[in-house]
Amino acid sequence: MASVTFDGVTKRFGSVTAVEAFDLTVTDGEFMVLLGPSGCGKSTLLRMVAGLEEISGGGLSIGDDVVNDVAPARRDVSMVFQSYALYPHMTVTKNIESPLVSKPSRIDSSGDGTDEVRKLTKIERQERIDEAARMLGLGPLLERKPAELSGGQRQRVALARAAVSRPAVFLMDEPLSNLDAKLRSQTRAELVELHDRLGTTVIYVTHDQVEAMTMATRIAIMCDGRLQQVGTPREVYERPANVFVAHFVGTPPMNTAPVEVRDGHASLGRSQVKVDAPDGPAVLGVRPEHLAVDAEGPIEATVRHVEWLGHEALVTCDLEGGDGATVDGGEPLRTIGAEAEAAAADGAEQMAATSADRWIVRINAATDPVPDVGRALRLRPTGGNVHCFDRDTEDRLDAS
């Protein structure tokens, strides 16, 4: 077990900067999820930890050792690849045994608190294989080759191969993306159990916010090679650090619109919303589940579309008096369109996308009436769940 520290880590491919001055400490035993859209640099960062990409600048430490120039096999890390990267010509047994043959493995401490690290004997290797196979339910599959396994079984073999040498850090690069929805949900729970049992530090890369929210101890959200926010799933959901995070975390994403704040009120089209933010141009954000239909509500809207999902309904509304992303003559938001595109490209489970004059309201279909298309209604943010961001920097305004 070990911590992983990124100290201004930078990666450049020619003139392109994939990761820029990345600072983060993954504490010992933590399940850290690197979350971001495709091309944000999260996999590059993981590959730098594995030693598969050279680091262009900054320092990377595993435990107390700076590992910038340490060979992959000497970093005491193991990795589960998106494609699993099993050796197709070897049986499951040989695949799992592979990391034990060439490099030293950690042996249980003999009571003095320090782990012994050495190459294992053939008998010890077999014991490790049996243990990993038992842990991941691979017993009946040990003599099969990867081509004879299902996607889920291959994924478990890849996990067994990663776990068998008891590394200090597990690296996982979107390991669930090739599984179907049901198996993905089941494997998420299994991964969390595995982490609880082994207590190994995990760095897990994904673009799927559901995976991040359900498995992570903390989430590091990335965009364009930069760290946007680090926090527990609850923190990033409840207090997003900027507009990008507000949009990226949450399904459907947070509703946002440019507003002008004066005397504690944001003017949204013809509506006035009470906010806790300094005067000036800002971006107002309200999550779909924090909007309620209320005849006395400050936001006027018209229902344009209803998605009925059984237990809830997603109601898309046009805000009255809104004129696109330039309400009050403000500049168009930088991230709203780009983020919505990115989310669509990533195949995120978003059924609808918001814009500055088109908001989504989540209604509990079991308890509240679902409005019809075309109906004019008024909305009210509930429980003071209103977020405000700086219009220029798009960073969260602390007062909100």
């Binding site: 030693g51 992959p72 990267a85 050796y87 197709p88 010509h89 060439s102």
Partner: protein, 286 residues
């Protein structure tokens, strides 16, 4: 049900008919003629066909000429195939790197693919010429003991481009993550090559091996281009195809046909043997 089956069979025959036509016209008919010609003996003018039956087969295939041709072909195979295979793998491994300018080397190594046998022969003669050559070696081609080595060297050089391209394609088809997983598993370069890379390109290597073996068994043009007199000195480079070529005169057509059939059967058995022995060691992926 019965009607459905007939309909299906008719459709299958329709789809197969182009292949069957090509096979019948370009393979079956010439081969049948070859086998039949082996049953006849001609006079010097090429007529006066006389049926001699299978005795010509036993005479020719058991004769000194056929044995000598096969021995020379086998020698040529031994000189060219292992070296060609190893050099192809070596160059492809060297060129399969993400280095600046590597495409230049890949192009150079591939260039012999586009070189005709005559040109290859001429270049090789110029390179090893004892007086004006780049390598002023003893004249390998003038000595009956070394002439086969000389032509084998030239042939290996000529087929190197094909071997290189085939192995390089195999190497480039290996998923990079598998190599990376091997790196993380602590496999050194040599171990990685033997336990991961080689098994994953084994289908390509089996194909290349069969190609090189068949190429060696059929060797003719490069020998014809390099040796003076052709097949010399003292017939030391007369492979079986050379012998068949020499039997092209009208009165020897029967014997030549028998040798051709013998060569076909031998090539077929060698390819079959290679598949039978090596196929179990080849991994064909998913």
């Amino acid at each position: 049900m019965h009607r459905e089956r007939w309909k299906e069979a008719g459709l299958a025959a329709l789809f197969l008919s182009p292949s069957i036509a090509v096979f019948a016209v370009f393979f079956y008919y010439p081969f049948e003629q070859l086998v039949l010609r082996g049953l006849y003996r001609n006079n010097i003018a090429g007529d006066n066909l006389r049926y001699v039956g299978w005795s010509q087969y036993t005479d020719v295939l058991g004769g000194e000429e056929f044995r000598e041709g096969i021995c020379n072909s086998f020698l040529f195979l031994v000189y060219t195939v292992p070296v060609g295979l190893l050099l192809g793998i070596l160059l492809a491994v060297l060129a399969n790197r993400r280095l600046r300018g590597i495409k230049v080397f890949q192009t150079i190594f591939t260039s012999t693919v586009a070189t005709s046998t005559a040109v290859a022969g001429f270049i090789f003669l110029a390179v090893i010429n004892p007086t004006i050559g780049v390598i002023k070696s003893p004249d390998l081609l003038a000595d009956p003991d070394t002439a086969m080595v000389g032509v084998a060297l030239a042939s290996t050089w000529q087929t190197l481009g094909v071997a290189f391209v085939i192995v390089l394609a195999g190497l480039q088809a290996i998923p990079p993550e598998v190599e990376e997983a091997s790196q993380l598993d602590g496999h050194g370069a040599l171990r990685r090559f033997f336990t991961v890379t080689l098994p994953l390109i084994s289908p390509v290597l089996l194909f290349l091996l069969i190609y090189l073996v068949i190429n060696a068994i059929q060797a003719f043009a490069i020998i014809d281009a390099l040796t003076q007199p052709a097949g010399g000195p003292d017939g030391s480079t007369e492979t079986i195809v050379f012998k068949i070529f020499e039997n092209r005169t009208p009165d020897r057509l029967g014997a030549g046909s028998v040798q051709s059939v013998g060569l076909f059967v031998l090539s077929f058995l060698v390819a079959l043997g290679q598949f039978a022995i090596l196929d179990k060691r080849v991994h064909y992926g998913e």
